[in-house]
Symmetry: C2
């Protein structure tokens, strides 16, 4: 299995995350990637390849042009406005607000393009986000050219990024870019399987009315887990996408046997809709020691998870997402890849 990685992920290195009423060191930090790289080496994967430049046209197939323009200029505008900290949204268009016009000032624009306030942007975020998407694109090209599986070691992650909003540590939706590329490349139907602990709200939003991309997300019940206001089982898509969203929220303390039951239901749903290719949003925060999640998976369970996904017998692009028990991130992610590859 080929893997893709860009050192440019380091350019996204915020110092602050709003959590519990404090600014803390972000849970989503560069060192996460090091543990995955080390584990890939330990387990004999070939050295990750640099993905080359990001194809912004492919990114623009799932993100709004004005949003991409915002991501590109946000840091300069923020600094020019006299702000001393990193970019964090102080308010977003909340329920009851008309949101009739995009603000002209950068503070208002930051909130316009955000769905959450935990996530900071820095000078290098745009470059890192493009490099992350480039990893997804390179892996997707491999699969389009006949590879069975490919792994994109994306950072920053992507599945919380909507068509025109950042949040949840995500800026460009790498998995959505991959799914769109597979569709544009000829796959009649594509499935995105999101096993990250947190609901894939960005991916859901992007494909909400698209019946050709089937999202299956297994995640912490939003009654108790971020992103809190989306991800319920009765959200199933609309218009042409009606029925093409499958949300499988699970309660606090869920052990792997229950999690695996949900996975099997998701896999069954993917089979039923007849996907020709698969994108996996591989977060590892369903792990029992994750500091901001509440499932109880062991490291070995990620290998079993990969094996169950392999039984779908579909070409698959795997995009790295969340996972914050940093020292275990590498083992858990690579266990999944080995299960998927039947190693």
């Amino acid at each position: 299995m080929r893997t893709y990685h860009s050192e440019d992920h380091r350019l996204h290195f915020p110092q602050a995350e709003l959590a519990g009423g404090q600014l803390v060191t972000p849970f989503e930090r560069p060192s996460r990637v090091e543990y995955v790289l080390r584990r890939l080496r330990e387990r004999g994967f070939e050295a990750p390849a640099d993905p080359g430049p990001c194809d912004l046209d492919a990114v623009a197939r799932v993100h709004a042009p004005d949003y991409l323009d915002f991501l590109e200029r946000a840091w300069d505008d923020w600094v020019a406005d006299g702000n001393a900290g990193e970019i964090i949204a102080t308010n977003v268009p909340a329920p009851g607000m008309s949101a009739a016009r995009r603000p002209e000032g950068i503070e208002g624009q930051v909130g316009w393009y955000a769905h959450a306030s935990e996530t900071a942007m820095t000078a290098g975020t745009w470059a890192a986000a493009k490099a992350s998407a480039a990893c997804a694109q390179a892996a997707t090209r491999d699969v389009m050219e006949g590879a069975r599986h490919a792994f994109a070691l994306c950072r920053p992650p992507g599945h919380h990024a909507t068509r025109a909003q950042f949040g949840g540590y995500c800026f460009l939706n790498n998995a959505a870019v991959a799914a769109r590329m597979l569709r544009d490349g000829g796959a009649g139907r594509v499935a995105v399987l999101d096993v990250d602990f947190h609901h894939g709200n960005g991916t859901q939003g992007i494909f909400w009315e698209d019946g050709t991309v089937h999202l299956v997300s297994i995640h912490g019940d939003p009654l108790h887990a971020y992103p809190h206001y989306i991800g319920y089982a009765d959200e199933t898509g609309a218009g042409d996408g009606a029925g093409a969203t499958t949300n499988l929220p699970l309660p606090p303390g869920t052990p792997y046997r229950d999690w695996a039951d949900a996975l099997d239901r998701g896999i069954g749903a993917i089979r039923d809709r007849g996907a020709e290719a698969l994108v996996v949003s591989l977060g590892t925060d369903a792990y029992r020691d994750d500091p901001i999640s509440f499932f109880k998976l062991d490291s070995d369970d990620f290998r079993d998870m990969g094996a169950r996904v392999a039984a779908l017998d579909l070409p698959a692009v795997v995009c790295f997402e969340g996972g914050y028990a940093i020292e275990a991130v590498g083992v858990n992610a690579v266990n999944f890849l080995e299960g998927l590859a039947g190693r």
Copy 2:
């Protein structure tokens, strides 16, 4: 003119405000009140009276019961959840989220009941918010009993608090409570004149479909100013309230002559709708040296402002709102009161 003040405002003393990507000392701080109290003394106003206990039934006429319950228990729930900082929303139901259910966890509930992330709640916030509303209630009772004018030195302020959301330093909408009391007490039509620099989004939301309470708000154009996503001139109310919201947004750098033109338009609109009583949301942040605003009013202009409002010849409850050029807050607020009283 009688004035009301409660020392319990000091119980709301957050240490953090999210601004410019940093946690800073909140602009809305207890010392603001001291400057108003001192100026009232200097100018010979009688000593402020304690308002007595808050009438929660009157508060519940404008706020949702579940929101009031949240405000009462939020701090205990937040601490029990293990959060080390003050209560700050990390995400709210943003555009694109279903917001189909109220979360059960406190983190999700904080965002459910918030429209912004700059505002912190602390252990004493609920008590202070009730004391602030009590000031508005006491001043309103004075006017209902025949006083021409009364001043409620409310803190925390209120006009950004919607029926079920806090934000913008506001928790209970004191001006809305006053207007509702005046209506319930027999006034056929009431006007709320909001001269705070920031749009009175909470008051607008509460009376959006109520044609008997006419909101006139003069404020920084949301294209450039908080709350950014509401407060445009074409927001004029709905249903029974169609036409009963008058927004007068003004651009950066607006001098008093232009501001006063807008005030005169607002006063004309109030006359046209035939109000029998007036509530004034008296923010002083239209002042030229306000650190987070962009109008150019001088201190003397607040006296002229009061005199123009006096020409409406209506009984009036004045509720203190924002204003962050702290040392000038007292002079500016009392100048308005003196202009209103013809002193």
